[in-house]
Amino acid sequence: MISCSRATAIAVIFTMVTAGPGGAQSLPSARKAILDGYAAAAKQSDPGFHGFSAAAGQAFFLAHPGVSQPETPSCSACHTTSPLNAGRTRAGKDIAPMAVSRTPNRFTDFTKVERWFTRNCRTVYGRLCTPQEKGNFITFMESL
């Protein structure tokens, strides 16, 4: 896992550095850099990697893995079943919609993306997510 995420980080940083012509990076290209990083990491751990799937991302988003606390059975417990909607934390704070079309700066800050995948995968799935799962998730959020 550690080597995997380190590989992801290196790949993402490499892509970020090479992506833009030095100026301010656009949001879509920042997101693409993060996705490319996850793709590279996924390929490294699975040579048969075929790219990311929005449908798989949706299934992952809606799934009830059944390993978590009763308050957090799924991503949709807080984010609602449609990423187009605003969600709400258990403590009553609004969460901006996850869909990129609604919240354009989603998945553009690698540190933030990694932090929340780490936290929420542990909370809902009881483990860290794989680069494949993260890429599927972002692809789903981009597809709406």
């Binding site: 606390q69 308050e71 957090t72 709400r88 934390t89 258990r90 403590a91 009553g92 704070k93 780490t118 936290r119 929420n120 542990r122 909370t123």
Partner: protein
């Protein structure tokens, strides 16, 4: 004293043989009557809001209390500068006279007094004294407990909390005194065959030819000047003192990293709401933070630990800081809603209110306390969402 030469207030006719006279005399001037009935309104309002009102009725209670203070101030001035039966000296009797009157009361042989009788006069002074003490204790309680008002800058919470108890006791005592006053009015009205309540409205009582003419004319002009100057001075002083920073109340902005990191998921709890040990326990287990993983960078965690420890409840003197810290549940030291104080003051609120989407749980103080972010929690700023009431 009224018993000295002239005895203006002393009627010689025996009470048992009243001789109704068609003539009446003005006994209670406009100042006394206005004072009396405004005081009734103010005391009833203060009593109802104090004993039965919700916490957010505090402003009405404070307005009533301010009115009582102003009325007592007026009465003291009018007791010196007013004329006739308004004057304190007209119903300040020697102890022996008061005792003799009380004995007569037991035997039913009291005599008629045109103004206050000796016991009634004593009651006026006692009421004015107790009302003054109630106002003073109220201002101290407000300053120490709620960190509001002219004494907030100097009154420690513990003092305010203690004096609040004194304020309550005095208020209960006042209830007893009001009951005694009403009983006295009832007794005298029956015994002298005269409606004293109506007399306090019209100011007129049945005349007694034997009673000497009243001494002294009231000086409205002097009283007005004195009250105006005193009123302006006290008001200015109160405003000036109220503007001073309250003792032990946090005012600075919250740490940026703390507000950003912790405010991402929940209301930003002011550091003053929990003791340092609770904050440290929370930061030590962010991986299992109220059922969720909220882990942070070790460097940020350390930064938050420093900030929270330095600004924890121990440093402050507000009601939530002191009461939450004192009532932490040792078995669940990371929850504000597990403290004894939190549970006590919220026990009337049904679970459904907390779980309602408009509130979002026990942890979302801001849903009903509009000043929760600043950790003030003023009674006046409590507002349960309308849809839930």
């Amino acid at each position: 004293m009224a018993d000295s030469v002239g005895r203006p207030n002393h009627v010689k006719t025996a009470a048992s043989s009243p001789e109704p006279s068609p003539h009446t005399r003005k006994v209670w001037d406009f100042g006394v009557r206005g004072f009396h009935w405004l005081l009734v309104v103010a005391v009833v309002t203060a009593g109802l809001t104090g004993f039965f009102g919700a916490r957010n009725a505090l402003d009405i209670h404070l307005i009533a209390g301010t009115a009582i203070a102003a009325l007592v101030g007026f009465r003291v001035v009018w007791g010196v500068l007013g004329g006739g039966f308004a004057r304190f000296s007209s119903f300040l009797f020697a102890p022996a006279t008061i005792i003799a009157y009380a004995r007569g009361l037991l035997r039913g042989t009291t005599r008629r007094y045109l103004g206050h009788n000796p016991l009634g006069g004593l009651m006026v002074f006692a009421l004015l004294a107790v009302l003054t003490l109630i106002v003073v204790s109220g201002v101290i309680a407000l300053g120490g407990q709620d960190k509001q008002g002219p004494l907030a800058f100097v009154t420690p919470f513990a003092v305010g909390w203690f004096v609040r108890g004194v304020h309550k006791l005095l208020a209960l005592m006042l209830v007893g005194m009001v009951a005694a006053h009403l009983a006295g009015v009832l007794y005298e009205s029956r015994h002298e065959n005269e409606n004293l309540t109506a007399a306090m409205l019209t100011g007129r009582k049945r005349d007694e030819p034997g009673v000497a003419a009243q001494t002294g004319q009231g000086s409205w002009r002097l009283a007005s000047i004195l009250l105006l100057l005193g009123g302006v001075g006290i008001t200015a002083g109160t405003i000036g003192l109220t503007a001073r920073p309250a003792l032990g109340v946090p005012t600075g902005p919250l740490d940026g990293a703390y507000a950003r990191e912790c405010g991402a998921c929940h209301m930003v709890y002011h550091p003053s709401l929990m003791p340092a040990s609770s904050w440290q326990a929370i930061l030590a287990d962010l991986g299992h933070h109220f059922g969720e993983d909220a882990s942070l960078d070790p460097a940020i965690t350390e930064q938050l630990r420093t900030y929270l420890t330095a600004n924890a409840a121990e440093r402050w003197d507000t009601l939530p800081a002191v009461k939450f810290r004192q009532s932490i549940d040792p078995k669940d030291s990371v929850r504000i809603d597990a403290t004894g104080f939190w549970r006590r003051i919220h026990h009337n609120i049904p679970d459904a209110t907390f779980t309602n989407r408009l509130v979002g749980g026990r942890g979302n103080c801001s849903a009903c306390h509009s000043d929760a972010a600043a950790a003030r929690f003023a009674p006046q700023n409590i507002e349960i969402p309308e849809e839930l009431q």
